[in-house]
């Protein structure tokens, strides 16, 4: 690798567009979001203005966020995201495993079939799911044939969590697949030869060796779940708001941008904490080798 000074003209030519774009249309907007979260709506002639702000007036928005309603929505978001991630792991691991042990010529097709829905528009998938789960949807029609139902699914917590799993399952399977595929199968053979049961082999050999894939998968599912508002909006009811819905409302109907900014920043901080934890874990496990 060259030092940037050795050919600074090439360096700057290559670096400038991306750096400027990132700065102008990502980092500065984020800084503005942070600034607005410490601001409040301006008073013009004694009335609260709609779109003028007094900047850097204090932490009032964050203090407002520490109320039981908002905290319970934050906790609910964490809890549901955790449940959805766990479900993705429990379903995704055996699936990734079975793809890895398929005959080689079937593997690309199997993987493509699992991943293809991920490329289909999120909104189309959510809408499709909503139709299928509706009172007169296919699922209820099928249940009706055997004399059950109709079961009300839309608007329930279960529907939201199912929706999250439906949408993010491929994110879990892909990293798991690439880790399990690289796993040296002779370790498993050795463990079985030496008298360990299938269960012991899985628990003591396969699982620890595929931990990096599990962690990547967990991160890839958990983080997008945290910021999701579409699924809870479409498949849940008004009582199943996640933090994303509260943020969206501040920039829509409630029109309280400073408060919305504070909540967004809190959500971003939460995400970064999760990522730092992952980074810390990876470095620790690297050090152990």
């Amino acid at each position: 690798m060259e030092d940037w000074k050795s050919n600074s003209r090439a360096f700057w030519t290559l670096a400038t567009p991306a750096t400027l774009w990132l700065l102008a249309f990502f980092l500065i907007p984020l800084a503005y979001l942070l600034a607005l979260s410490f601001s409040s709506k301006a008073l013009v002639n004694g009335e609260v203005s709609i779109n003028d702000y007094d900047y850097f007036t204090g932490v009032a928005n964050y203090i407002r966020a520490i109320n039981p309603d908002i905290i319970s929505i934050f906790l609910r978001t964490l809890w549901w995201s955790a449940l959805a991630t766990l479900a993705c792991l429990l379903i995704g691991y055996p699936i990734a495993f079975s793809i890895c042990f398929m005959p080689e010529r079937w593997r690309p097709l199997a993987l493509l079939l699992i991943v293809l829905p991920f490329w289909i528009n999120l909104l189309i998938r959510t809408y499709a799911l909503k139709t299928v789960m509706g009172a007169r949807g296919v699922v209820n029609s099928a249940l009706g044939l055997v004399g059950i139902g109709p079961v009300e699914m839309i608007g329930t917590t279960g529907a939201v969590i199912f929706g999250l799993v439906y949408v993010f399952l491929p994110f879990m399977i892909l990293p798991l697949y690439s880790t399990i595929e690289r796993l040296d199968k002779s370790y498993l053979e050795a463990s079985l030869d030496l008298g360990a049961s299938q269960f012991q082999t899985f628990w003591k050999v396969t699982l620890p060796l595929t931990m990096p894939g599990i962690i990547t998968g967990v991160i890839l599912v958990f983080i997008p779940c945290l910021g999701m508002f579409l699924i809870s909006d479409e498949l849940g009811g008004t009582t199943s708001w996640m933090i994303g819905n509260v943020i969206q409302a501040q920039f829509g109907a409630s029109n309280d941008w400073p408060f919305g900014s504070a909540l967004s920043f809190a959500l971003m901080l939460l995400t970064i904490i999760v990522l730092v934890m992952q980074w810390y874990y990876q470095n620790r496990s690297k050090g152990a080798h």
């Binding site: 030092d3 907007p29 189309i124 007169r136 959500l267």
Partner: protein, 281 residues
Amino acid sequence: MSGQLKPGQGPLEYGRRRWLQSLFAVTLMVLYLPIAVLVAFSFNEQNRGGVWKGFTFENYPKAWANQSIYDAMVNSLTIAVITTLFATVIGTMVAVMMWRFRFPLKPAYEAAMGLPIVIPEICMGVALLLFFNGTGLMGFFSNLVWPFNLATIIIAHIAFCFPFVAIVVRSRLVGFNKQLEEASRDLGANEWQTFWQVLVPYMKPGIISGALLAFTLSLDDFVITFFTSGPETVTFPVKIYSMVKTGVKYEVNAASTILIVITILATVLAMKLQAPEKSGH
């Protein structure tokens, strides 16, 4: 987990375990059932109500004739094409830069470049909404003629797409043999010629799959578009969102089916282009 092994079944032949096969089959069914129903209902005669009335192609010309769906579709495709062009060029350049050079604060630079990928979309969406409003760019662009009134959306899409392109291209560059570059210089090519005639051809599969990734990401995006679009600049996902809110007609199913077909073609094409590279190693 598993019981006795059947005769002829090895302990490592998990691919032949019944319960794993059934789980795989059931998951595929659950993944595809809603999409299959959506596609099937795009051929339904009755325009509402979720009941199958009979087969027809009519929803397709209807969707085509529905000006607002048509406009949304054209907007989405225009945004995706322009975004892909810019994001691919910018992303490829920065990938080469990060691959080639050592520079101060490189880890911090790389982390900042990865940030648009990892932070929740809604945060990026509202930050851009604030920024475009605060700077007056939103008002400025929304008064321009088409397609310039799509500028805020395109700017936002480029911002979240080019880091993905950079990652894909950079992972391709890892396998590059630097001696090729030296050979080219030794044989008298200047830096520019070396870049175009040695490095770019080598990066080509990476650039193409990066471009297709950017295209699908842009075409797919709802959250960031939702916050950065004006009332006049509706994209297809935003259009579906509002139509689902008001009760849907099967024209939407028809238009969705077309979008699904476009996406699947792009994905399969991307995989085809990448496949020979893998076996070549």
